[in-house]
């Protein structure tokens, strides 16, 4: 029992390690694990969840995960999509948030939106809808740079 549990645990870690190298197709600085798209790894399946229902990247993400699993010799692992609980930006890892900021996208925070370039909280929203469903468009009022922000969702 103990040995089996340990094996399962390391198997999950191994799969997560593989998937942590699968970038999001739209925001390649972060992986599908960083974004919380990968919800769980079971003995026979990887459980994923879409960010927004209409996100066109959903199909590409599944194909990329499939390719990464096949390359690692894990073709037997299925990919299952679940909708509940609905994806939330709370699931983006601390590491993922830092990667977003370094990439120039303000990570989702419930407090004042900070400019990812100069750090100023003196910013304004230009559009609630940005270049992808998950982002909105902002401008820094200090350094004047426009920037994307990952919407709190």
């Amino acid at each position: 029992m103990v040995a089996a549990a340990r094996t399962t645990h390391s198997f999950k870690d191994r799969v997560l390690e593989i998937l942590s190298h699968v970038p999001d197709p739209e925001i390649p600085c972060v992986s599908v694990v960083d974004l919380g798209i990968v919800r769980d790894v079971k003995a026979d399946a990887v459980i994923i969840t879409p960010t927004y229902t209409g996100c066109p990247a959903t199909l590409a993400i599944e194909a990329d995960i499939r390719a990464a699993l096949d390359k690692a010799g894990l073709s037997a692992l299925k990919i299952e999509t679940v909708l509940t609980p609905p994806w939330s930006t709370d699931w983006i890892s601390a590491e993922g948030r830092e990667k977003l900021r370094a990439y120039g996208i303000a990570p989702p925070v419930k407090t004042a939106v900070q400019c990812p370039r100069c750090g100023s909280a003196h910013t304004e929203e230009l559009s609630r809808f940005g270049s992808t469903p998950c982002k909105s468009l902002h401008r820094c009022l200090d350094c004047r740079e426009p920037f994307d922000r990952f919407k709190c969702h």
């Binding site: 927004y52 229902t53 209409g54 996100c55 066109p56 909708l83 509940t84 609905p86 230009l126 809808f129």
Partner: protein
């Protein structure tokens, strides 16, 4: 009507509303008054088409005749669509589009909260996800309603005309037969709050147009479908 048939009809209504409005909004792509609005309308359309894919998927399963979401979207004729008349109305000018979105999104958000709490696990899962997206649609439509109503004489005139055009399709949303009558009072108070902020009056009551839920549509839906379904009808099962 068997429970599965009921479930099919319920999912079809939810899916068709989202699909037809999503297709309508996509007509704005590249034509909106400014870039930010273009992005917004396209994103809202995308959310709705995503929701439609899920709802029509459930409808296909409930029907159990081998039709998936794509088959239901692209291979049905106009009489088989069960969307409300509101969503098929033409875009008109930007104010008319916003009027439609304002009336619809505020209703859809209330409806999806209900579906989220209902016992059907598959429909509830879709609704829980969709309702988070629709909250954004409401904010967008409410803000533009205020901005145009409380804007220039021109924008105000257009906003009034847009609401006037769309208002006769409101009653259908709350029809006791297959609508959601229990949502009316909350919807009324939401709408009233925004109209007050916009300095606009509630349009005068008029005889509501109904029939979308029975497949009796305005002439506009057929034209929309000819464009949306052209490829699958000309080249069935086309892949790329």
């Amino acid at each position: 009507m068997s429970p599965e048939t009921q479930r099919f009809h319920h999912a079809i209504r939810l899916g068709d509303d989202a699909l037809i409005l999503g297709q309508r909004l996509s007509e704005w792509c590249g034509h909106a008054p400014m870039l930010e609005v273009d992005l917004s309308l396209a994103n809202i359309g995308l959310d709705l088409i995503g929701q439609a894919t899920h709802f029509l998927g459930v409808a296909g399963e409930a029907e159990d005749k081998g039709r998936d979401a794509d088959a239901l979207a692209f291979r049905r004729d106009v009489l088989d669509f069960k969307n409300c008349l509101l969503v098929e109305q033409p875009n008109g000018d930007f104010a008319q589009t916003i009027a439609r979105q304002f009336l619809f999104s505020n209703w859809q958000e209330l409806l999806l909260h209900e579906v989220s709490a209902a016992p059907d696990p598959a429909l509830s899962a879709i609704a829980q996800k969709a309702v988070k997206e629709v909250a954004y649609h409401c904010r967008f439509a409410n803000e533009w309603t205020v901005r145009m109503g409380d804007g220039t004489e021109e924008s105000r005139t257009r906003m009034i005309a847009g609401l006037d055009w769309m208002w006769r399709f409101v009653d259908e949303l709350f029809d006791p037969k297959d609508g959601a009558p229990s949502l009316r009072s909350e919807w009324d108070s939401r709408i009233a709050k925004v109209l007050t902020q916009a300095g606009l009056e509630r349009p005068k009551p008029r005889r509501g147009a109904k029939g979308g839920r029975d497949g009796h549509h305005s002439e506009h839906l057929g034209h929309l479908l000819t464009e949306m379904q052209f490829l699958q009808r000309a080249y069935p099962d086309a892949k790329w």
